[in-house]
Symmetry: C3
Subunit: 422 residues, 3 copies
């Protein structure tokens, strides 16, 4: 008898559970990876034909820079293992990855050290992708890549550590399930700093008012949004950090319905504002709903998720108009989607979040105060970081292509080639 | 000892199996989701350049409408829990979702209530997507969306309940594993009703015979078909409703080979009929094979699946010609693929299905009679429903855009924008 | 008590582990499937607008031919079950698939016979896809399909059997984890034979030197590369042949970082050589990194994988220039990516591979000698096979379209249609 049970122990249900959890984190990482194709296509679709090679090139470089810097330093900057009683503002656990056979599963109940790294690494690069769309059609290639490198290697992991690394915002009850603030707003603040320093594209804001510059391919934009939505099942679903049936299932439902409601909300508001059925608005409405539910996909009820998405959908056309009024030119609407809906989603946790589920180890997470603190602290750090980095790069190298290149297009100017040819 | 065993019970192999099954249903749901991108691209590729925004817009709205109405009422209409002795024609379990912590896993051996909902919800919207392609390039936007809303909220779940909800067709031995009839033919009948009431696109059927109107982008159509095939691994594979190794593996094989054989069949028949190597025919041949195997992917042998796919491939060019002879204009071939091959696949269960596997709890499923009954009953209900709804909408709002808008294109007419620009 | 334990035995942790492993193989097969869309888009993007239907048509046919021939004979040619003491050069286990309920799991610890078949079948077709890109824009349709049929039905499985089927290269310590040689170089050698016999496209190599023929759509090429990368998680991750947490996680990390480093390496080298930021180079750099790490993704350390990828990235622009100097015209760079980086990756196992991990059952795998033997043996067999087949087809049917058709394009010439239209 004893033997039988020992045999069972040799391959225990626990070890199979570990396999399942780990497999889900890896599949989720692959899904988050495909979001980079989603971003590439969304941005490529929304820019002019003459700037398509440039936006694709930037997106290919971003995934490379993101993964490699996260390996070199980002991961250990974001998950430094803050010591008890440390400030929780900054920590660093050394360069590279150092798993031994023994510690592979040491600190992780449900997945390997490597799975943790690759899942988190896929997230890291997304924050730069968000910036890339907003500053498109006028930023110089190398200065942008330099910014991306510093942003993803330093800024993103430091603020990430404040919550997901167990830092001071975590200690103060801030809640951000999968990154409405930690990923999306961070990208949004970087984008905002960029477009302020760059200025609008020529011809966008004229004496006679705002003149839309239509994107060159709506099918590419649609591919982008559907792939982002698809990848979001990994982004949110994987953020459960296990294959827990109840939580992952629920997150799939809230994520799906928030996106669907974002489409409806955006349709309604854009019809009210513009009296038109604008494909770019409903596409961004889906993304707004997804960004909105990201902070609380696990703690917001199903009807709550519909409301969160619907309101995010309402926000999109309003935010696009608002930034246009400020003459802040964002070709793809990244600030409206990721910054504004990222803030909304973070606050939505305080409104719609299940208070019991947010009471963890005696701490009440996700209160209004804690959410505002997190939003503000990360806003200040990220915006200042991005602004200063962009400012220094601008002073040294210049940020913006010259007038002639902007008119001819960055594809010829930076790459001596066109995206399309006979 | 007793303690050891109780510890094992705390995390039993059964509970880990539940995790695996549930995870597969969720991954399958994500795969079915990506079919909506597949449909969008297939339809966008097969329509003219001037109607691309419109078809994308409709597909974005359909997924939103599909998910939200399925949440509001569709799920409880399709899975009402028919009482013993009830007619099994109609039931409704109330609005919204109402899972408590206790009943989450109550009625489901292998996955959560939420997983069941989201997997089924992803299916629901596909039936409207099938319609959307067939009626493309001439239907008004809002009337189409109104039809979609009623079709997915009412018609699809009611006929779905007859089989998958345990209703009267199920009781009468009808077999439809993953929806050759319940999903694809349903969409096909809706499409047929629409194109009858709409009439053909201007210039398609002239005094000098049928004049093909070529689709504007074969790469988009190819993206669509490959993504549909990819998603079909979730559509059919997930329909096992567990991660059962034998069944899911087999379904992957039969699904793959039927699609491959559909390509070959369509190549042969289109070469015989038209003496050409037509990319749209082989693309639709793959889809025909997939639709064909869907009803019996679990009960048809591997060689049988090749025959089912091959015959479906033969059918595609014949059906396209047939509908053209009747002057029923379907820009993407949706009726040939989903309606005709859906019927073929449902009958194929009776021809190729393993009789032993189809003998369930003493009832012989999938006999010719039962299959014909199911095909006919769902045909009558769906076609009548769709025809009446389209008819009423036509009477009140009109269905078809005016001549000038059709010539200019629906992108400008309905959306005041173009899909492509410099 | 005894009863309780028997109940546990009825659903043991082992059987749940089998479910997880099997599910991962199936999900991996679906991911490898999507690589066919990746190849289609990469090749479509890199050819001229007038040859797009043709390249899509070939890719659709290849997946059909690949799956069906692998079912008919390839699988049993590649995994014949070499008898002890046989030469290990050639074996055949009969036509079709013959699993019974009992032997389904007999020879397979971790997955079903069907899962094994479908995962391997998805691999098989890729070798022809590699050829298809290299010979694009001038090869006749039916001769190419005939070549593909023979190549995938005979050549690929025979050399595959030498290693993965347990044949003579396996016995001699050759190591190729997921196919740098067995899949990618094999495709590359076939491609090389084809482009030698076909000659360059008209106008590529002129008296005034090489004149680039730009691809018609960089967004399609980018879609192709990202989808290939995405699918590679199944290609490499699934080649673990189980969901083993340590190995699959590690493979995800090495695969990701090698691809990222390939981008950087290619950027550096192409800037040094051409002083430009060429999108096609960084896209192929990612693929080069992926091909490079494929032979040793499981036995090369994380820093090692970065070096393997970086060097593969360096190789890409050098190899492209090298083939151009030899006037070997390859429109998509398939020989540089799959042949040269395939060889590099196979050698990289000897340089960077963990010697302990490569010591299996007392045999030291992956030595320089063994790797060179494998590369050379498979080179000779595959190149000779492909050359002879292409030569015979050329003698009987002709290989190349006539001058007028090449100028007009193969879309009109072979298919009487265009890829794009209004």
């Amino acid at each position: 008898m004893q033997e039988t049970i020992q045999t069972t122990d040799a391959l225990s249900a626990e070890s199979v559970k570990f396999m399942v959890d780990n497999l889900w984190i890896l599949v989720a990482a692959a899904l988050v990876f495909i979001m980079h194709l989603g971003f590439s296509m969304l941005e490529a679709g929304f820019v002019q034909k003459k700037n398509v090679v440039n936006i694709l090139f930037k997106n290919v470089m971003i995934i490379a820079i993101g993964l490699l810097t996260y390996w070199i330093m980002g991961f250990n900057l974001m998950y430094p293992g803050f010591a008890e009683g440390s400030s929780g503002f900054f920590g660093f656990a050394g360069f590279g990855l150092t798993p031994g056979p023994d510690d592979m599963t040491a600190a992780y109940a449900d997945y390997t050290y490597w799975s943790d790294f690759i899942f988190q690494a896929m997230f890291a690069a997304t924050c730069c992708t968000i910036v890339s769309g907003a500053v498109a059609e006028r930023i110089k290639l190398i200065p942008f890549l330099l910014f991306s490198l510093l942003f993803v290697a330093i800024s993103y992991p430091i603020t990430g550590a404040w919550k997901w690394g167990g830092g001071w915002l975590h200690a103060n009850g801030f809640y951000d399930f999968a990154g409405s603030t930690l990923v999306h707003s961070v990208g949004g603040w970087g984008a905002l700093a960029g477009i302020i320093l760059l200025g609008a594209r020529r011809g966008k804001y004229t004496d006679k008012g705002m003149k839309p510059i239509p994107g060159h391919s709506m099918p590419l934009a649609a591919i982008g949004v559907f792939l982002l939505w698809f990848g979001w099942y990994g982004f949110n679903g994987g953020s459960v950090l296990s294959a827990d049936p109840e939580l992952v299932s629920k997150v799939f439902v809230t994520t799906s319905l928030a996106s669907a409601a974002g489409i409806i909300g955006s349709l309604i508001m854009s019809f009210i504002l513009f009296k038109s059925y604008d494909i770019s608005m409903v596409l961004n409405g889906a993304l707004g709903g997804l960004v909105g539910i990201t902070a609380g996909a696990d703690v917001i009820s199903v009807p709550g998720s519909v409301l969160v998405g619907l309101i995010a959908g309402f926000i999109i056309p309003l935010a696009v108009s608002f930034f246009d009024k400020l003459k802040l030119d964002d070709p793809v609407g990244a600030t409206s989607v990721h910054l504004v809906c990222g803030i909304w989603g973070t606050l939505a946790v305080a409104i719609f979040g299940n208070k019991e589920a947010l009471l963890i180890d005696g701490t009440q997470y996700g209160t209004f105060g804690a959410q505002l603190l997190g939003i503000a602290a990360i806003a200040v750090f990220t915006f200042v970081f991005a602004f200063v980095v962009f400012f220094i790069i601008k002073a040294i190298f210049g940020l913006r292509v010259d007038e002639q290149e902007e008119i001819t297009g960055l594809d010829i100017g930076e790459h001596q080639m066109s995206a399309y040819s006979l």
